[in-house]
Chain length 429, copies 2
Amino acid sequence: MKADGADQYCILHEADLRDYLAGVPGLATTLGGAPSAWEITEVGDGNLNLVFIVKGAQGGIAVKQALPYVRLVGESWPLPLSRAHYEFLALSRQAELAPGLVPALLHHNDTLALTAMELLEPHIIMRKGLVAGVKYPRFVDDISTFMARTLFYTSDLALSAADKKEGIAAFAGNHALCKITEDLIFTDPYRIAEQNRWTAPYLDATAASLREDLDLHVAISRLKLKFMASPEALVHGDLHTGSIMVTETETRVIDPEFAFYGPMGFDVGAVIANLLMAYFASAGHERTPGERRAFEGWVLDTVEKVWSEFLRKFLDLWRAGAAGDGYPASLFAGDNGAARLEAERQAYMQRLFADTVGFAAAKIIRRIFGLAHNIDFELIEDPQRRAISEARAVRLARMMMVETGSFPSITDITGAARKLCDWQPDFAK
Amino acid sequence: MKADGADQYCILHEADLRDYLAGVPGLATTLGGAPSAWEITEVGDGNLNLVFIVKGAQGGIAVKQALPYVRLVGESWPLPLSRAHYEFLALSRQAELAPGLVPALLHHNDTLALTAMELLEPHIIMRKGLVAGVKYPRFVDDISTFMARTLFYTSDLALSAADKKEGIAAFAGNHALCKITEDLIFTDPYRIAEQNRWTAPYLDATAASLREDLDLHVAISRLKLKFMASPEALVHGDLHTGSIMVTETETRVIDPEFAFYGPMGFDVGAVIANLLMAYFASAGHERTPGERRAFEGWVLDTVEKVWSEFLRKFLDLWRAGAAGDGYPASLFAGDNGAARLEAERQAYMQRLFADTVGFAAAKIIRRIFGLAHNIDFELIEDPQRRAISEARAVRLARMMMVETGSFPSITDITGAARKLCDWQPDFAK
């Protein structure tokens, strides 16, 4: 194939990619040296796309190309290439709104479904760090800034209704990616589905109970409807700790190919859910009892601060000047108006917190009973130990989803999580 | 100008229109006879567009052309011609979903922002009939069918999430029309705005109280946000009794140029609000006390039945087979699942009723204090009598908006309306 000037899609192999990149002046300069000397490694860790790391004499870049199917499953599960377009669109917007918190964009080709980005080095996937028990002191500040700014500035609080509707329309075509979420997160774990799996036999009874639990089915259905029909803001759509790259001093949010206009709580809930899973998994990674106590304390502290800092920053943006068509300032004039608007802001954030709690619960359950699991739990080799961690997480998640109102604050969540660490499921007694 | 084959917009005058229609084979046949003999009358009653009635030897048609500005105000208030495109799109969809309840579409030209439709004869605008005290025995059945079918079949209960998102995107460009609603219904009546007007001096104190009433400002702001960011279904967007043409045996819903994906309660609330206004206005049209008692009883009865029949039909459609991605059947299997899903349907409709009550209240207040008034009240010549009717309506509306929860059923609304007919505002004592 001839990739440069490509007028149709083709999957790039190493040689093609080398030719293609050599033809993009900016990239060739960034890499430096002779193209033939560039080192190209495919590092995609498996779910959806090809990911190449390219290193030249001057520097490196990361190149991501979408495949026309789900890589994890194969050609039997086709997936539109257009997701690369939406990822590029989301990344561009996030770069404007949260500068320095996403990888710098270097090049995009819609036809090839290909994007070249800053190479993040020595960053690692945050989830890997959490499994290893590493604390990330920058994380709270960075992720709360990322969420507060990307969500606030794409909401009705900051945008005119016209701009908001244009944004919604621009991402409406990304429905195939939304559908993955609708099925894998909001439906399959609660019914018999071929792709479901869990730590058998320990969690067999819990898996069966999820399929029978009608309180849970009502709750997940309401959350699904909210996911489908509440375009509150441009959400990342897949904001787990595998979509965040970190060092101890830097944080970068990557992979927004699931981006669309959806409920804000879906992003905030994703972060909180994945931290809670890191917390519950931690005991399974201990070699000696209690050796990860300090790390676990840091994780729960991080859960609390992610919410409280997000809350504070979002409210500060809102107070500093809401130019959007929602809550017009002219209806809240004077001291009384200001006080009432502040009360309404608090009520708004309380509703957003309830959404966050519900979505966090949904994200936990899908990682334990659905198709896509995560290494927090998967790397616990002893299946019974793994199942104990998972059972604790799912017990909390079930309460969070069905009794959302009994978790009015983030410390109610972390308090319940802490208590559950002493709880032993029946199979472990 | 040469209208046939027009490649750019121009305002059609009678002669242009005659030439244009003569060039559209289907229309020329419908009209019949020599084009020069066609009778053309411009009958647009003023708000936004040109409306022509064209009669030939064989039959008649109605032709609507959008102007690039708000006709009521003039060129100083520009409005996109694209609204004709959205109106055509909505009318086409409504014709599929609620056959016989909208005028038959005969021809559309996007460039000219022109649509030709079935001539509705001897139908009159329903509001005029209500002012005259005429009962419409078909109305409940027809409007409840129209709303149940158009709303259900464009919702997440009937559509895949992908089709729903495509629908949302297809109407997202109609934001200029949404903006009119956002300003005139959800903002201006609650603040000082040049275009506001009311029956002075009688309602001066009430107008001032609306501007100070922070409970109301919170409530209207929440409704506004719901209007902007809850694309539940394809709503008509302007479903008042001036958008409905009737005879005693037929009902046709017209003018969906405000159509977009919004909250279902906005349409249902519009119908109920306008019936309630007809009820409160009725006393002002009496020549002898009590002469319209039977009509007024019919109006309140109609309010109750519009809701109860809409509820019944919407639920029947849902029970008969919900093919959409919301509330997947696989999560509600067996007798227990079916019972739980039925309870959830009832809860869904209860939330929709609360939305309906809130939006109905907003529609009443805007007609008494905003830019656009209606003839129900305006044709009461004595301003004090008019103000008494208006004051009763707005008193109910204020309660409906701020204390929505104290109106759990439609008979709570009609009961409160009935009681208010004995209430005299201070200025009338």
